[in-house]
């Protein structure tokens, strides 16, 4: 306990430290890039996927693997991580990937409504997590691919991260609706799926 008390960060009062007048913030959030090559989001998403390492690493039991993958995702910047087991009989499930790793990052503004470089920062943060995470799993010698399926929010709910509201957004107990569901990492690394919050 004493150690925890020593580690308390600086005290921040919510009514102080409000950003000063910033006339460029709106441009940052809302103006779509004139040249897409100026957007880091675009270039990371277009990057080709690397090969699966033929020498498979020794791994732990599925529960431990799941814990490690979550530790790595959180270290990379994900706020919430969940693992959903995919139904192989569902028509839109990619073949050969039994698990989906769902990473959720904070999003003060919904990236769907803010096309500027600033509005896309949650996407950038999410891509950073999913790119490194899927590359790491491929380096372990297992299949992994980061994709952007239409039902990402449903998978996040299936991974127990929250519920889906009427507008089709993920609502989480920790951050409300101010979250962005990053690309889904589909993998065949043996993992222990999380329980859905409803089940």
């Amino acid at each position: 306990m004493s150690k925890v008390a020593l580690r308390l960060g600086p005290i921040t009062l919510p009514w102080l430290g409000k950003p000063a007048d910033d006339p460029y913030w709106d441009f940052f959030l809302h103006t779509p890039p004139h040249d897409v090559q100026n957007s880091a989001v675009d270039l990371v998403r277009k990057a080709p996927e690397g090969a699966i390492n033929p020498a498979q690493e020794e791994i732990h039991s599925p529960e431990i693997n799941a814990r490690h993958i979550k530790e790595l995702a959180v270290f990379l910047g994900a706020k919430l991580v969940g693992i959903a087991a995919l139904d192989p009989t569902a028509p839109d499930t990619p073949e050969g990937y039994p698990f989906a790793i769902v990473n959720v990052v904070r999003a003060e503004h919904d990236p769907r409504e803010t096309p500027g470089i600033g509005g896309q920062v949650p996407v950038q943060n999410g891509l950073y997590v999913t790119f490194v995470l899927s590359a790491y799993i491929r380096e372990l010698g297992f299949r992994a691919t980061a994709k952007r399926p239409a039902d990402g929010v449903r998978l996040a709910a299936a991974a127990g991260l929250g519920t889906v509201d009427a507008q089709g957004r993920l609502v989480t107990p920790q951050y409300g609706a101010k979250v962005y569901v990053a690309d889904i990492v589909f993998t065949d690394l043996p993992l222990a799926p999380d329980r859905s919050s409803r089940g």
């Binding site: 910033d22 460029y24 100026n38 880091a40 690397g50 390492n53 732990h60 790595l72 270290f75 790491y136």
Partner: protein
């Protein structure tokens, strides 16, 4: 601190192996780099081909280091996706993608900047919003810049201004945006271990992504953003990111030396430059020497500052530091000992803030006494060298380097190569004592 010096003459330039591109052009006022670094003589702009990694790429630092750099695939899967050049597949390394991407066009519809102070606040807010830990602006000075060419170690940095010399570049692009990310403190405690490497490499990748994004954003604002032109340390000191320590690293106010300063952005976006800071590093490093004592290769000097290339500073022997790497690559990637033992490397919490503020508020003549007291506290409570056992993901710094064991409670997997239930007890991490092997790195000829 401000004085005028002349550009070096040809023969002085030749003695450092670097080229002075524009002899005879007088430098403007000497840049203010704070109290730890003083410009005392003519500074020759560094040719990027003389930097450590380019030298090694050409094989000038010996076979072992050349092979380590070009032909070594790391045994550690996380290092393979986060460290330069040790991947099994280069497409798995994010920095390869961000830094080698083609550059976007400058937006022809330039955003007018009426108040540079507001734009400075905005750029800093943008950097922090993207996840940077420190963002400060330096006034560009030709002395920070590389001699004409671009630093291309991490990617393609050609641009149409490559023919301009340092003086002309600093005139046309007067600001340098320095963006840094801090390494994770807890993981750094397992330095000389893959856990410490993760702390180092993963924040480096993140910093590269942030810089790429801010660079693109400055072009979207309608201004030029150049990469690979400026020495990050010179710009970092002038911007007040920190002060230069005995370990040759910029020691920041909030994070100490555990920060990354990848290639900064040079721009003509109107900004308000920051000033150097004083957090007492000058006095601390005169007394402390913890990094010099623990450096496994004796690369950090115990002596006083020296004048090198017209700059008075603590000079490390980078070559012996670098030369260690191929010999330890099986166990870790980056040594990081000088950062871990530095008394300024502490979590960014209130008692750290209090101490640093006290130190910087303390009058200079009284500082040595305060520094001795703080160093005593540091030795007493943190130890001369950190040996904390860190467990993260499947890693455990309590396992001897070279041995394999699964120490995770509850793991039921059958491990072929690892002792499934190796008994490792205690909270002390394995710390490879390398000091006695030092001579081979110091005396050996290539």
């Amino acid at each position: 601190m401000s004085m005028t010096v002349e550009r070096p003459t040809e023969q002085q330039a030749g003695s450092n192996g670097a080229k002075a591109r524009e002899p005879g052009v007088p430098l403007p006022l000497v840049p203010n780099l704070g109290r730890t670094v003083r410009v005392v003589g003519p500074v020759v702009n560094v040719d990027t081909s003389q930097l450590p990694h380019p030298k090694n790429q050409r094989g000038e630092l010996g076979k072992a280091l050349f092979n380590w750099y070009h032909n070594t695939v790391s045994k550690d899967p996380l290092t393979r996706v986060s460290a330069p050049n040790h991947f099994a597949d280069r497409r798995h390394f994010l920095t390869n993608i961000t830094n080698r991407a083609p550059k976007g066009q400058v937006n022809p519809q330039r955003v007018a900047v009426s108040d540079p102070a507001a734009m400075t606040r905005h750029i800093k807010r943008v950097a922090h919003y993207m996840g940077a830990d420190i963002c400060r602006i330096a006034r560009a000075h030709p002395a920070f810049l590389y001699a004409g060419n671009r630093y291309i170690q991490d990617g393609a940095t050609e641009d149409e201004y490559a023919s301009l010399g340092p003086a002309e570049l600093a005139r046309r692009f007067p600001y340098i945006v320095v963006i840094t990310t801090a390494w994770d403190y807890e993981k750094l405690q397992a330095h000389r271990h893959h856990i410490g490497d993760a702390s180092y490499h993963i924040s480096q990748m993140k910093a590269n992504l942030i810089l790429k994004s801010v660079e693109g954003y400055i072009r979207e604002l309608g201004y030029t953003a150049l990469r690979g032109v400026s020495n990050p340390q010179g710009a970092g000191l002038a911007a007040g990111v920190g002060e230069l320590g005995r370990n040759g690293l910029v020691i920041s106010e909030k994070f100490g030396p555990r920060i990354h300063m990848p290639d900064p952005i040079m721009t003509d976006l109107p900004l308000l430059p920051d000033e150097p800071i004083d957090i007492g590093v000058n006095e601390f490093c005169q007394i402390c020497r913890k990094c010099a004592i623990t450096c496994p290769t004796n690369s950090i000097t115990f002596e006083d500052k020296v004048v090198y290339n017209g700059i008075e500073k603590f000079k490390i022997k980078w070559e012996t530091c670098y030369r260690l790497r191929p010999y330890v690559a099986d166990h870790w990637g980056s040594c990081l000992t000088c950062v871990t033992v530095c008394p300024y490397t502490k979590p960014n919490v209130w008692w750290r803030t209090l101490t640093v503020k006290t130190l910087s508020a303390c009058p200079v003549p009284a500082r040595p006494a305060l520094v001795r007291a703080l160093k005593w506290v540091d030795d007493k409570f943190w130890g001369v060298v950190r040996q904390k056992r860190v467990r993260w993901m499947g890693y455990d710094s309590g396992i001897k380097p070279g041995e394999k064991a699964c120490t995770i409670a509850g793991c039921t997997a059958a491990h072929e190569n690892a002792g499934a239930s190796a008994k490792v007890e205690g909270n002390i991490g394995y710390y490879a004592p390398l000091k006695e092997n030092t001579n081979r790195f110091v005396k050996r000829d290539v």
